[in-house]
């Protein structure tokens, strides 16, 4: 029995507590990557239990196994091709019917499975009582009640899963029986495919062909195109009988079956009065109080993160800069020493003073909001506004993240459904002024011209975002998608899961950004030491001096600002020889400089994040466009502002 290997997959709807169960099972032995060639996340972990080494894969949270989204396709392929020993289907007991709809589809994939009937506590408080035994009997699959956030039932769930594997239960699970006319057609198609070698179960292929599933059609066409055309004809017949298209008929019947099972297994005790969660929901989505709450919580979020970040970041950098004498004693103060300290170490310090004080708290709060359910309410409230730039409400979330740092924000665009919307959202996000840009806006314009000018720049930035967002929405081919999103009940999130999610995000950030920050910082130092900076300044002077009306030296800051954005202001001070910018820059110059720094591509790490999800071509295009656009706007601003100021 020793060292036997098992592969278990977790599958289920979004927000049913799947990742909480995953965390309970795998603890720290997990890692998150991407599905090969896809921008869909793949979380894996291992655990040892009863002499087994068990690999657990957490499939993305989905509502169906069709080809609507990449996530659905990836999940279905995984189950069919990798054939996990058992699938744990996590089911939200408080929304049983919709969850069982997914369960029935899993069963059609003919995979061995166990059901984790999760959120029993929430169901109970909503007045839903589920009879586990009855459900087990109706589905023909083991059902284990769990309350994942409290860790209840997890060990038993695992035992049940192993038991299922050990029993090798050959007995076929009962499946959805469709209407007579549909079943007859499924039978006909199965007959035709009898000899074919298929990845998916035969019945499943027949069902999906009738539903007009594009991926399956492609596969079968390669084997025998006649089967596809036969399926099309049969589907047409079903459409004739029912007056709805065939996939609608079949989805309805599947839902009907799910509904029947749910009604038989659950007892509804109507709750006495709107519960606390219900009232909280009403308050936070109300047309007045909802928006007030939204504005208030966003202000609180940014205020607390920036206050905390500013304080901790200052402390950390003081602490780390204390190492300088030590470095000098090891590497000397010559070229090597200054490259080691000014290049590598300062880059590292810059990274650390961003990650610890800003990014970590930001993610913790963000995941708290997501797991508690508030983010979906924000998306609900902001849907309308986001539609103006051709995106739906969910896109507001990466944009919000962008105010902290553009790197995680660009990666966060994966929450959008289609590749097109991911790209549009990422484009808009790169225009959002991040924390480093905020330092420039506040430190230059805010300090020397007054806060109203800083605010004006922010508002101008928003206008630009909307204008360019709209433009991109027109230019990029494809159709906009509408918002279809579940707003699950508010609940208190599981803290350990939040911390773990945060940790993975931060690790991802470190992996993408740190090498680039260090390399950028090294390049900067190298250029400085070798005296190339002067040349760069004079080469750029047609743009900086003639078009933007700035001192030639600012060209250096703008170029190297791409490498280390947060340094722009420090660098400017160093190059101009003073921190009192009022002595060396006119108000108009300050505004123009800030405008350009605000609008051009955030930084090299953001470009790397874009490349990762969208490839070189698109990332390069966005970069070049934004740089050109920033310079254009800067020059126009100069000419307009000199008329007034």
């Amino acid at each position: 029995m020793n060292k036997k290997k098992l592969l278990i997959a977790l599958a289920g709807n979004a927000n049913v507590g799947k990742s909480v169960i995953f965390n309970h099972l795998t603890g720290l032995h997990q890692h998150i990557g991407n599905w090969p060639g896809k921008t869909v996340e793949r979380a894996e972990g291992t655990l040892h239990f009863k002499g087994y080494t068990i690999d657990i894969v957490d499939l993305p949270g989905i509502y169906s196994l069709s080809t609507y989204s990449l996530e659905e396709l990836v999940s279905r392929k995984y189950i069919a091709v990798e054939r996990p020993d058992v699938v744990i289907n996590v089911v939200d007991a408080s929304v049983l019917e919709r969850n069982l709809f997914f369960t029935l589809q899993l069963m059609e994939l003919e995979t061995p499975m166990v059901i984790a009937l999760n959120q029993m506590d929430i169901a109970k408080s909503k007045g839903v009582q589920v009879d586990t035994k009855k459900l087990e009997q109706l589905l023909g699959v083991p059902v284990m009640p769990t309350v994942a956030v409290k860790g209840v039932g997890i060990a038993k769930l695992l035992e049940k899963a192993i038991e299922t594997v050990e029993k090798k239960q050959v007995k076929k699970q009962p499946q959805v029986t469709y209407g007579e006319e549909v079943e007859e057609k499924i039978g006909k198609l199965m007959e035709k495919m009898k000899s074919a070698q298929l990845v998916y179960p035969q019945r499943y292929v027949a069902i999906k062909l009738l539903e007009g599933d594009e991926e399956i059609e492609r596969d079968i066409k390669r084997i025998n195109p006649e089967i596809v055309s036969a399926a099309k004809k049969l589907a047409g017949e079903i459409e004739c009988i029912h007056g709805h298209c065939c996939s609608t008929v079949m989805t309805s019947e599947r839902y009907e079956a799910a509904g029947c099972i749910a009604r038989a297994a659950q007892k509804l005790v109507s709750p006495m009065k709107p519960s606390k969660v219900e009232r909280l929901h009403n308050f936070t989505t109300h047309r007045v109080t909802g928006y007030l709450t939204l504005v208030f919580s966003l202000l609180l979020l940014f205020y607390s993160i920036f206050t905390f970040g500013d304080y901790t970041s200052g402390m950390l950098s003081d602490l780390l800069y204390g190492l300088e004498p030590f470095f000098a004693s090891v590497f000397g103060t010559g070229i090597v020493g200054s490259l080691m300290w000014g290049g590598v170490m300062e880059g590292l310090i810059a990274g650390i003073t961003i990650v610890l004080p800003y990014i970590i708290p930001f993610y913790i709060i963000l995941y708290f909001l997501e797991n508690s359910g508030y983010l979906s309410r924000i998306a609900f409230l902001m849907d309308n506004v986001m539609h103006k730039i051709g995106l739906h409400g969910k896109a507001f979330i990466p944009m919000m993240l962008g105010f902290g740092c553009n790197v995680p924000a660009c990666l966060g665009c994966r929450i959008m459904e289609t590749q097109r919307e991911r790209l549009l959202a990422a484009f808009v996000t790169t225009l959002v002024p991040c924390a480093a840009t905020t330092v420039i806006i506040l430190g230059l314009v805010g300090d020397f011209l007054g806060i109203h000018w800083a605010l004006a720049l922010y508002i101008f930035n928003l206008v630009i975002i909307f204008a360019l967002g709209r433009l991109a929405f027109r230019v990029v081919p494809g159709e906009p998608t509408a918002l279809i999103m579940e707003m699950h009940d508010y609940r208190w999130p599981h803290m350990k899961t939040i911390l773990k999610q945060t940790w993975f995000r931060v690790a991802e950030f470190i992996k993408i950004a740190f090498p680039l920050i260090i390399v950028g910082s090294l390049a900067l130092k190298l250029a400085d030491v070798s005296g190339v900076l002067e040349t760069v300044a004079s080469v750029l002077s047609p743009v900086t001096v003639v078009w933007l009306g700035l001192p030639a030296i600012t060209g250096i800051t703008l170029i190297f600002g791409v490498l280390r954005k947060e340094l722009s202001l420090v660098m400017l001070a160093a190059l101009l020889g003073t921190t009192n910018f009022a002595l060396v820059l006119t108000p108009v110059q300050m505004i123009v400089f800030t405008l350009v720094a605000m609008l051009y591509i955030p930084c090299i790490a953001t470009i790397a994040a874009l490349v990762r999800d969208f490839g070189w071509k698109k990332s390069l295009f966005i970069t070049v466009f934004e740089v050109a656009f920033a310079i254009l706007v800067g020059g126009i601003a100069l000419r307009l502002l000199t008329l007034f100021l």
């Binding site: 919709r98 989805t251 839902y255 047309r287 979906s376 849907d383 998608t481 279809i484 999103m485 579940e486």
Partner: protein, 88 residues
């Protein structure tokens, strides 16, 4: 689900007032990827004959909040306009 296809008037979901319910009659074909979204709506439980309750709509022509099969969904207005229901 056929039997409900009687003479009762079909209205878009957006025509329902706060708190009103209706049964899904049909989903108007959209343009472009419309087919995919119809499927998506089905998958979320909005199959023909299903009872839908409009809870509220976000202001300024924002999305609708609806109850379907015991779950609470936010539905973009453009989408909701294409869902036709028979008012109860």
């Amino acid at each position: 689900m056929e039997k409900r296809n009687s003479k009762r008037s079909k209205v878009p979901l957006t025509a329902l007032k706060k708190g009103e319910s209706g049964n899904v009659a049909s989903i108007g074909a959209g343009h472009g990827r419309g087919g995919g979204f119809e499927k998506r709506l089905m998958d979320m439980g909005l199959t023909p004959g299903t009872r839908v309750t409009v809870v509220k709509s976000a202001p300024f022509h924002g999305p609708l909040e609806i109850l379907v099969r015991g779950s609470r969904l936010a539905l973009g207005r453009g989408m909701a306009e294409r869902i036709f229901v028979e008012k109860e």
